[in-house]
């Protein structure tokens, strides 16, 4: 059993800190995409409060609570981090900083990077100075990600990168990109890929935004046209993370990480309102037995799924990894979220079909959920992973 007395003390301490460090005006607002603090060179705060809060968090390592202190984190345990998140939610304080650097580059470097790489790249991430984007998918490499064709040719002191990425979120606002590039065209698919860190300011990098069925999006196509990437950014700080041609291991590691995140994202809804609150506000929404049965079914599943998320997180914390079962979380959570939005659309009826009607952005949100079961690996790919690696069923 964890030391509950110490954790209780930690809870009090962290709650006090949040209360004093997070400006009151930031608290109690509905969570919304456009209030996220992303950081980076091009970043502009919407108000001074956001800046105050982020800087207070940086000073305490709380932009990356679980990272080691030397790389800008706070070195918290999983139990402490969980308490921190709970207190943020209870006190209705927003996360001080979010980014792909925190979510993805960090975990990759912490696992596979050199000390110099961590120092050079992680500190600026925790301080909100550098914003990263992820360069994985390509038009011909989606489910079959290992089919990436963006090439990095060895030119002695630098790599020469050519190719196209797609679905790079916020590529137009990011400072750096971590990309999967092919460094050996003769090796088998999975054995010729490297995980490369590239400055988006390099000549030859361009981006083009993607419009989604739900409207404007942060996604871009990113083009590399004879981009020169130095072999090294300093002593023991190569531009390739891990071994050259072994980038697939890192990609796989990160995908597992990303899946847990996306599966868990299925909770927040309509600025934090629960299903019951939303439906309760719609007079007569549950009068029809079909809608009512659907609402009940979804709530039952959502509650049990939330418990499953917790159970798996605890299991991971206990040192018994979740492994391929993360595919289940990703699959189940995203399918559930889509069902939930279908229900909301149906309950709100003709009021829901406007781009910006009585229920605000419900319609674009609903359309956007359709990508949940595609981004980060499709539901079919998740089921395939479960079938092959968890159930150990034979190949066809």
């Amino acid at each position: 059993m964890p030391d509950t007395a110490a954790l209780d003390a930690f809870r009090t301490e962290i709650a006090d800190w949040i209360t004093s460090a997070c400006p009151p005006a930031l608290r109690g607002r509905p969570i919304s995409e456009d209030r996220i603090v992303w950081g980076g060179r091009k970043w502009q705060f919407q108000d001074d409060d956001q800046k105050t809060w982020m800087q207070a968090a940086i000073a305490r390592g709380m932009t990356a609570p679980r990272w080691p202190v030397e790389y800008g984190g706070a070195g918290l345990s999983r139990a402490e981090e969980k308490i921190y998140r709970e207190e943020l939610e209870r006190l209705q304080a927003p996360p001080p900083l979010e980014s792909f650097g925190l979510w993805m580059l960090g975990p990759a470097l912490l696992e596979f990077g050199t000390h110099a790489q961590k120092l050079a790249h992680l500190l600026p991430v925790t301080r909100g100075e550098i914003r990263w984007c992820q360069g994985y998918s390509e038009p011909g490499a989606g489910s079959d990600l290992a089919n990436v064709q963006t090439r990095a040719e060895d030119m002695g002191d630098h790599w020469l990168v050519n190719g196209q990425k797609i679905w790079t979120s916020y590529a137009d606002r990011a400072d750096w990109i971590f990309a999967l590039v092919r460094t050996d065209r003769d090796a088998p698919k999975h054995k010729g890929i490297s995980f490369m860190l590239i400055d988006m300011n390099s000549p030859g990098v361009t981006t083009r935004p993607i419009q989604l069925i739900s409207g404007k999006s942060p996604f871009c196509e990113t083009f590399f046209d004879n981009v020169k990437v130095p072999k090294s950014y300093g002593e023991d700080n190569p531009s390739v993370v891990g071994q050259v041609n072994r980038g697939w291991d890192i990609a796989k590691y990160l995908l597992t990480h990303e899946r847990e995140m996306i599966g868990g994202g299925a909770r927040g809804l309509l600025g934090g309102r629960s299903l019951g609150q939303f439906l309760g506000d719609l007079d007569g929404a549950l009068d029809n037995p079909v809608t009512r049965a659907e609402a009940m079914r979804i709530e039952v599943n959502a509650l049990a799924f939330a418990m499953t998320m917790e159970r798996y997180k605890d299991q991971a914390e206990a040192g018994r990894g979740v492994g391929n079962a993360s595919a289940m979380l990703k699959y189940y959570g995203t399918e559930l979220n889509k069902e939930r939005y279908e229900l909301l659309m149906s309950a709100a009826g003709s009021e829901a079909v406007e781009w910006d009607g009585p229920h605000g952005s419900l319609a674009p949100e609903w359309l956007r959920t359709k990508a949940n079961s595609i981004e980060g690996g499709t539901s079919e790919v998740m089921l395939d992973i479960i079938a092959k690696r968890v159930l150990e069923l034979p190949n066809s």
Binding site: I166, A371, E375
Partner: protein, 377 residues
Amino acid sequence: MTSLLETEDETMLRDAARGFLADAAPVANLRANRDQGRPFDTALWREMAQMGWAGVLVPEAQGGADMGQRAAGILAEEMGRTLAASPFISSAVIAATTLRAAAGQHSADALAAIAQGDLLYAIALDEGRKHAPLNTTLAAEKSGNGFRLSGTKAFVADGGCADRVLVLARTAGGPGEAAGLTLFDIPADRAGLSKTARATVDSRDHAQMVFDGVEATGDEVLGTLDDGWALLSRGVQAGQAAVAAELLGVAGGAYGMTVGYLKERKQFDRTIGSFQALQHRAAHLWAEIEVTASAIANAGRVLDATPAEAGLAVSLAKARAAQTVDLAVREGVQMHGGIGMTDAYDIGFYMKRARVGTEWLGDYGYHAAQVAAARGF
């Protein structure tokens, strides 16, 4: 039961419609409408009228083609396949069916103009977020020889472009009662009637209509005072069957695009259509579409043969169509993978129209409940 097979004439109509729409109204047309902010292409509607589509339910005496509800369903289905936007269902189906049942000189004149494509109608019916015609509260109060209409209609399809409006109002009784509902046929530019366009995801013409003491004369009552629903429900049922047919077409269009993509797209050095997981789902979708097609054909046949007893057939069609189109567009987007989510690809347009068409004149839950009631449970 008459045969659900198409007659030779119906097959010819379908082939002609499919050929015409593929050329004249591909999805690119809807995209252009959206980008230019117009609800439909008036030149296209004119062509449809010239081919007799606007008059498909209008008697020959008024210049119509008088081909029947099954034929109207075939046209709606083909329009659904390419998402062709037009005021067809509101004017040529619902208004035409209602006016024809109403008879009289006004109706004859209106039908003649509808057949020419010169007169557009909108049906001002639902007031809340779900289809519930008997809950109409928009009040029509006696005023001199006529009436004053006050209230709001929330979701009026083709309301923005309509020349005239069929508006259901309450002259007696209370919510839930059919008795006491009266149908009015008034010009859309009547003083006191204001329209607000609703920017819906399907980029079609939908409006909210507010009636603020709108004057209507006694002559503008269509059918019988306090018994308007008996008349309008004929038109609404025809409309439900036509929307169901359109949704079947939407499902078919989405299915066609998707199967085409399954045969083209390669991942893991294979055509994705070779993965059995996808094959079975595509096959299942095809099965659902086949089953729904029967319900659609049946609704048309029953409406033509025994329109007074078409409730079950129509609700069965709309319930099935709502379920099937939902499956078709969800599978469509999912099986396209990432590009299915992009505006640059057409599949998303199918999903948007499916959502709006499903709500229009009753969703799955509404019609499934009607079926249950008609079947005695």
